[in-house]
């Protein structure tokens, strides 16, 4: 009995802390979002914060912006990640030297850099007084650095999209590379003998083979960027802001009476994230990306 329960008991302190902080915080937020806020004398339960939020134009503008940024970031990161992974795979197939390993490491580099640093790199590179605009101005391609398009702190969110595309592409390539690594070297030979050129091989064999893993990885990036805070906070504009930033603004800049609204926003955000997580889980189980591969 003791032997059986020992591992669970040993894990209890760690699990207890996580459950208390995570679910405790979430539960506290849920209570406050429904107006239960004893600190300001509110002990009734009501859905006023949700109603107000859903009726405000700021919320919908913020939601549209968040969806757009998350969708475009995931799409760009997905395409870039797939290109990186396929290029590394083809490089690995064609060369036996250590060159491919070097490229592997190079492409994995963004994984080691924190998001905030990634965002800062984009600021330094792409802002109007940044590195790229100065190079273009010096080269005479643009007259003034102010001619360089506004890509950082812009209302569309290009700076945020660029950061996530750069930062998440290696994650996607890392997710799909194991699938590619399981493609038999002999499949290339089979495909060639049956008349497939290099593009046919990528189109007919490589892309369909990685599609399930790619979709799931891209979906994970979507879910992550949908609820991420620091990069949009650094590279976004004050209005419209993405949902997590909007929630932070409501929480810190308003009065205590605005907090239920901020927390309601967090609960909506968490609900959407959980829903998307369930969708990812459903597809990953259904597709079972390596089913039948030996």
């Amino acid at each position: 009995m003791w032997q059986k329960s020992k591992p669970y008991l040993l894990l209890l302190p760690a699990i207890g802390t996580i459950v208390l902080l995570f679910f405790g915080g979430l539960f506290d937020g849920l209570l406050k979002s429904f107006g239960y806020f004893p600190a300001i004398g509110e002990t009734r339960f009501e859905a006023a914060a949700y109603t107000e939020l859903l009726q405000s134009s700021e919320f919908w503008a913020s939601l549209v912006l968040t969806l757009r940024i998350a969708a475009l970031s995931s799409l760009f990161a997905g395409v870039l990640g797939a290109i990186i992974a396929i290029s590394l795979f083809l490089l690995n197939e064609s060369t036996k030297s250590g060159t491919s390993q070097l490229w592997h490491r190079l492409f994995q580099l963004p994984l080691t850099i924190p998001h905030l640093v990634g965002g800062y790199i984009i600021v330094l590179l792409f802002m109007q007084s940044g590195f790229l605009s100065k190079i273009l101005a010096t080269a005479g391609i643009i007259d003034e650095i102010t001619d360089f398009p506004v890509l950082v702190n812009d209302p569309f969110g290009w700076g945020i999209i660029l950061t996530y595309a750069w930062k998440e592409a290696p994650f996607i390539s890392l997710m799909i590379y194991p699938v590619l690594a399981r493609i038999h070297r002999s499949w290339r030979e089979v495909a060639r003998v049956f008349g497939a050129g290099s593009w046919d091989f990528v189109h007919e064999i490589v892309l369909p083979a990685i599609l399930p893993a790619w979709t799931i990885a891209t979906f994970i990036v979507f879910v992550f960027t949908f609820s991420a805070f620091e990069v949009p906070f650094l590279l976004g504009v004050t209005y419209p802001s993405v949902l997590p930033v909007y929630s932070y603004q409501l929480y810190t800049s308003g009065t205590l009476a605005d907090r239920p609204e901020a927390l309601a926003l967090n609960i909506i955000l968490a609900a959407i994230t959980i829903l998307l997580g369930i969708v990812v889980y459903y597809f990953s189980k259904r597709w079972n990306v390596l089913k039948g591969w030996d």
Binding site: V190, V193, F194, I205
Partner: protein, 358 residues
């Protein structure tokens, strides 16, 4: 004629070890495979037969020589443009495609319309006994069924040459026999030219019109199964074909004398003088009926039976003569009256004796 001509093709693999100049060399090989012929390359592992197959497929670049078909030089033509097909040791079906899509893959690459290629794929699946399996995925099939699909995939596009690299070696023995039978039947039906690689003598003998025996990167001898077995050119070929009873000796003045001076027999005059081996095929050695004296056209052998082993409906007898260990083949009827330790008199017709150069 769509004969395949392999003209002095050669390939050298360099060793990674600095001291060795080359790790493996495929010696220049010349060979013609006729249209519709079933040709096997037979040899032990590492003898270069798969290298030769891949050179023909275009998957490896040759260091010298030519591959020609229908008088076109294919040496520099990439494999995707050769219109060949190949079945590998593993089925290597694409797991994300259904069986039907796998079979139709070659036709898709030839830009055949979807309806037509799927119709042809279904038809070919019927030929290999997999009717109704088209919508399954490869992992839902057994190893034998997967290899049938691989065969269907290779045949559906009507290749000019079908290359097969030990396709049945991963299957269990009974399944292997079924597949051999199926391949034999299908090859006859489609009249497809086949270049088949195997290390299994039985398989090569059963399937092939002609066989090329390879060893250490060299093509030693080409011939029909019977021709190779009855008249091997060298002891290497004889040993690989599993021929027993190789007796070392010399030919002088029209006579073969064994090294240990036990046997002396006349040989035809066209046999060159010098060191050689006498081959006594076990099945050609006969039990001498009582009271019969062997004539001048037969060789007498006397020895003691050491062991009798039952094998596929007949008995293998291990015989100890004065200086040699021989192997003979006896029917169950003959073996009934024999026992270990018994002395027996045997004979072999001089017409069944074969002498090979050392």
């Amino acid at each position: 004629m769509n004969d395949l001509r392999i003209i002095n093709i050669e390939k050298k693999y360099n060793s990674r070890l600095p001291k060795n100049d080359s790790a493996f060399t495929l010696q220049p090989i010349g060979l013609t495979i006729k249209e519709g012929e079933f040709f096997s390359l037979l040899g032990p592992s590492g003898c270069g037969k798969t290298t030769l197959l891949k050179l023909v497929a275009g998957l490896i670049r040759a260091d010298g020589g030519e591959i020609r078909m229908d008088d076109f030089d294919l040496t520099a033509v990439p494999p995707e443009d050769r219109r060949f097909a190949m079945v590998f040791q593993k089925s290597l079906l694409f797991p994300h495609m259904t069986v039907e899509e796998n079979v139709a893959f070659g036709l898709k690459m030839q830009k055949v319309s979807k309806k037509m290629r799927l119709d042809q794929a279904r038809n070919m699946l019927e030929h290999v006994g997999l009717q109704g399996f088209g919508f399954r995925h490869p992992d839902e099939l057994s190893g034998g069924q997967q290899q049938r699909v691989a065969l269907a995939r290779a045949l559906v596009a009507h290749p000019r040459l079908l290359l097969m690299d030990e396709p049945f070696s991963a299957l269990d023995p009974s399944l292997r026999e079924d597949m051999r039978e199926l391949l034999r039947q299908i090859q006859k039906e489609f009249r497809v030219t086949v270049l088949f690689v195997t290390h299994d003598r039985e398989e090569a003998f059963y399937l092939s019109d002609r066989i090329g025996v390879m060893s250490e990167g060299e093509l030693l001898q080409v011939g029909t199964a019977q021709n190779l077995r009855d008249h091997p050119d060298t002891t290497k070929v004889a040993a690989f074909l599993g021929l027993k009873n190789l007796i070392e000796g010399t030919v002088t003045n029209g006579y073969f004398s064994s090294k240990l001076e036990e046997f002396e027999i006349p040989v035809p005059h066209l046999i060159e003088e010098g060191s050689c081996f006498l081959i006594l095929r076990p099945e050609a050695i006969q039990l001498m009926p009582e009271g019969v004296i062997p004539g001048a056209d037969a060789m007498h052998i006397r020895g003691e039976i050491q062991q009798l082993i039952f094998n596929h409906g007949f008995y293998i007898g291990k015989l100890k003569t004065a200086n040699h260990q021989l192997e003979c083949s006896f029917s169950s009827q003959q073996a009934k009256n024999m026992a270990a330790g018994q002395m027996v008199d045997l004979m072999i017709s001089l017409n069944d004796i074969h002498i090979v150069k050392k």
